[in-house]
């Protein structure tokens, strides 16, 4: 890996960690509901770094967490997180970031907002759930249906994050055209 990519990947992993610690921000659509989220960081990793580097960045973040850094939201970390029934969602983050980046690259719609929203809905929500739900069901003995119902409670928040990602992506690529996203 080029040094430049290596450092970008590392700093973005740090950003995902930082997102889990304090930053909260308001979204105009959510009317005062503060959004704090690492899934937001996962979606942004795919959008900003692209499929391959985005996925590597998320994987690196999870590796640092597994080694014991308390960087998951709520100050969690360590191997216990990966032994818990929610570990599937974390594994899904890696694939999720990859899919977000890949869809972003394929779509390149006229609208960055629409591309980023579709990419993060499919990659950052659907793919993550595809990993998370079966693992939750298998590890805890729940039925797939029950696991899906339990997961569905997070759906509204996750859709908000996809919208936030799309808004951030739009302002990012407009303000920094050199960043590489070229809408048709």
């Amino acid at each position: 890996m080029q040094t430049r990519d290596l450092v970008r990947v590392s700093l973005f992993a740090a950003l995902i960690g930082a997102l889990g610690l304090t930053p909260r921000f308001d979204l105009p659509i959510a009317a005062g509901v503060p959004v704090t989220a690492q899934t937001l960081g996962v979606m942004l990793a795919g959008v900003v770094l692209g499929a391959r580097l985005g996925a590597i960045s998320v994987a690196l973040f999870l590796f640092v967490v597994a080694c014991g850094a308390p960087l998951l939201s709520g100050g969690r970390g360590g191997l216990g997180v990966f032994a818990s029934p929610t570990a599937g969602y974390l594994a899904g983050w890696i694939a999720g970031a990859f899919v977000v980046g890949a869809i972003m690259k394929i779509l390149m719609l006229r609208s960055i907002f629409a591309s980023a929203f579709i990419a993060s809905t499919i990659g950052g929500i659907l793919v993550v759930y595809l990993f998370g739900i079966p693992w939750l069901a298998w590890s805890s003995g729940l039925s797939l249906k029950a696991a899906t119902i339990a997961t569905a409670t997070f759906l509204p928040g996750d859709i908000l994050k996809a919208i936030a990602t799309a808004m951030i992506a739009r302002s990012y690529f407009h303000a920094y055209p050199r960043a590489g996203f070229v809408p048709l």
Binding site: S10, A13, T22, F25, F63, G68, S140, Y176
Partner: protein, 199 residues
């Protein structure tokens, strides 16, 4: 579950990290096959006694598992409704057991030692272009830059507030990321200037 290792050294600290990881892997596989709630509860008692033996700090650590309670309660209720008391007890005690065993390793192993223990497993990554030697640098950068990025966020937020903004806005995120990437590129340049290139 809070990752930080204990500050006081316990007897667990003297085992090599690799041995502890192997132990956790084996325990996880074995306990997945145990269906008897009594065996699981006894094992849970044994693991808890390790926590108590490791001292006060380790016991206080148990409090940090509170966030797991809702998950365990939901799993327990669902199981109770669908297949009865014993299955619910089995699932819940197995989950608690595996998480507590895994955390014993985290509790007693410094982060860098843990990374070294993982390296042999990650060696095959070389074949898809990821050099494990680069991992050490990446690891250190992540740890170092979390506080730097948080500080950067706080400064941006202060400036935003001073100009009449609310407590923080999504509008701050894009420049935050752009700033991060430009810092990253400067770091990469200075690393290369000092001879760090391993393509």
């Amino acid at each position: 579950m809070i990752g930080r290792p204990l500050s006081k050294r316990t007897w667990l600290h003297f085992l090599p990290a690799g041995v502890k990881l192997l132990f956790v892997a084996m325990a996880t596989i074995i306990f997945f096959w145990v269906q008897n709630p009594i065996v699981l509860l006894i094992s849970l008692g044994l693991v808890l006694s390790v926590y108590f033996a490791a001292g006060r700090e380790a016991v206080l650590r148990l409090k940090l598992f509170r966030f797991l309670l809702p998950i365990l309660i939901i799993v327990g209720l669902f199981q109770f409704a669908s297949s009865g008391f014993f299955d619910a007890l089995t699932s819940v005690s197995r989950l608690a057991l595996m998480i507590l065993i895994a955390d014993l390793v985290t509790m007693s192993t410094p982060m860098m030692e843990m990374m070294d223990a993982f390296l042999p497993v990650l060696y095959p990554l070389r074949y898809i272009g990821l050099d494990p030697a680069q991992l050490a640098l990446a690891f250190a950068l992540v740890i170092r830059f979390v506080p730097v990025l948080l500080d950067d966020w706080m400064r941006r937020r202060e400036a935003w507030r001073a100009r009449g903004g609310s407590r923080g806005s999504w509008r701050l995120v894009a420049p935050w990321i752009a700033g991060l990437l430009s810092i990253a590129d400067r770091i990469a340049e200075s690393l290369d200037a000092r001879g760090f290139r391993r393509d």
